[in-house]
Amino acid sequence: MSTGTLFDKVWNMHKVATLPSGMDQLFIGLHLIHEVTTPQAFASLRERNQRVLFPNRTFATMDHIVPTDSTQRPFADPQAELMASTLEKNTADFGIQLFDFKSGKQGIVHMIGPELGLTQPGMTIACGDSHTSTHGAFGSLAFGIGTTEVRNVLETQTLALSRLKVRRIVVNGALQPGVYPKDVILKIIAELGVKGGLGYAYEYAGDVFDTMSMEGRMTVCNMSIEGGARIGYVNPDQTTFNYLKDRLHSPKDMEKAISYWSDIRSNADAAYDDELIIDGSAIEPMVTWGINPGQSVPVSSNLPKCSELQHPQSAKDAYAFMGFSENQPAQSIPIDVAFIGSCTNGRLSDLREAASIVKGKKIHPKVQAMVVPGSQRVMAQAESEGLHHIFTEAGFQWRNAGCSMCLAMNPDKLTGNQVCASSSNRNFIGRQGSPNGRTLLMSPSMVAAAAIAGHVVDVRKEIGHE
């Protein structure tokens, strides 16, 4: 069992009791909610005439069902409109703050928590969305929950949880130019597999994380769940503290806060349940070719042979669905759609990197391309830098903030068996809205380069580092 890690310290500090089952009852310091996974939880409170125990520790926004072409109400889709109006009623009735379109603070729930300074080190954070692991970038224990658990948090501000083991993943060295945090996490998932993290929290450490920006750390932690780990985190450091300075909900007494945040870092002599060491300088830009995020290759290679993989049948199923061939060069795969956005890669740094690739160029005539900022704030910042002009002049659509084409709950969807170069997090069958649509996961810069070329390309060529 791990000892002396951030996980152990934050877990113990939030432990209310041990339940008869042996599960721990943990206090949840921050609860984030959105329109899709909460209506049934509020309905349950209403049925039993219960109230929210700590309404000021829950914050709401809308993201999944939001149309990105127009935020005009009522939404064209009556189901989406009902979800939105239900969240508005629930938050108003139960005294919960909602960051709606008019606030200028709406966005994907995992974007706005950090932006507003709500997400802080040493907190327990829960949200009815598996990508809640994103917030671990700040050194919090952040994880996705189901709707019954959302009800439990609303009503008791606690959850019953089984303790996880802790695996430290050390990535040393320096990333090559053209290699981004997205490539780091795709590489980690390729190494450990999509179920490698079952039962674990991942602690990310080493040179690469020490020098990584907060936005990059969020990208990596975001996809912990794609490797099976419900929680992923980075120990807080000066980069974290700098990010949190002067945000809306940041502590007024930063000195006191930094003292707490420093105390909860993993000790130098902490004990881990497992450790993996990766050479960061050897990581290449990665691209997925299959139907789970572990089925990826370095962009310079050919697609793998099924017989050489751990799960040959799964690979055969993936090839059958994707229509690709063993040994085909990754860079030969043509694309139809390019999507830059999502809680994984919809941040300002992502848009800046992608814009630097497309500047002065045009997208391939047969490609449809869209950029969807992750939040209204990212959108405003990007526009103040003129990034939207760079994208639209190249032929990209510039949209309003939301989850968009990451998942099939709003009008942004693939059609037929389109192939989409996507900066999102899941390449599951049907994920992008067409039952036979195909998704290739990659960094936003790789998506931008693919949009211009019309097929998968090595972004290192575009930036003169091959």
Partner: protein, 202 residues
């Protein structure tokens, strides 16, 4: 122990082959735009069971021999992906009480427990043996003994040892798989702990 306790259960079995079956396959996201879970049972594995709303008769859930099943037999990393409770809600509302598999995604198995769906795991070779057995004898029932941690299969001589998360096993045996009442009973401790946290009002 209370009337929600689950110490054993028995039922017919439907095999759902495939590894890494994610929650988008269990309930496609377009069906999540409901503010209740009432209809989720209808959407279980929708895109695998139907093509353009035409029934795919090859899918086990569409085959008459498995129509009475209340236990699902699956492979590994079942329920990976989204935390959406819509997936176990669909499984529960379609009449399933337990899932037997090689492994389950973390959030999914927790969501199942919260709804009273028992998830148990067995080694890969045993799971493969069970798939073969169920294919040959679709009517054979499984008996899960939560307390003894065994799975008995009609037509097979010896029961198999099953693995359950210890905390889940205890919660089923003492009927506290929906923890709300227990959590609420610690109200004073919750308030006390909140006072000790440094960050709630800074």
């Amino acid at each position: 122990m209370n009337n929600l306790a689950v110490s054993s259960l028995k039922g017919h079995v439907v095999p759902i082959p495939g590894i890494d079956i994610d929650t988008d396959q269990i309930v496609p996201a377009r069906f999540l735009k409901h503010i209740t879970f009432d209809k989720m049972g209808e959407y279980l594995f929708y895109d695998a069971r139907f093509t353009n709303d035409t029934v795919n008769h090859d899918h086990p859930l569409n085959q008459p021999e498995y129509a009475n099943a209340s236990i699902m037999l699956v492979e590994h990393n079942f329920g990976c992906g989204s935390s959406r409770e819509h997936a176990p809600q669909a499984i529960m509302r379609a009449g399933f009480k337990a899932i037997v598999g090689e492994s389950f995604a973390e959030i999914f198995s927790g969501n199942c427990k919260a709804l009273g769906i028992v998830t148990v795991t067995l080694p890969r070779h045993t799971i493969q043996q069970l798939f073969q057995h169920v294919a040959a004898f679709p009517n054979s029932a499984f008996s899960i003994d939560v307390e003894a941690s065994t799975l008995a299969v009609d037509g097979l001589p010896d029961p198999f040892a099953i693995t359950q998360k210890d905390t889940h096993k205890k919660a089923f045996l003492n009927g506290t798989w929906d923890e709300l009442t227990l959590l609420k009973s610690n109200r004073d401790k919750i308030t006390e702990l909140a006072k000790q946290l440094p960050y709630l009002d800074w």
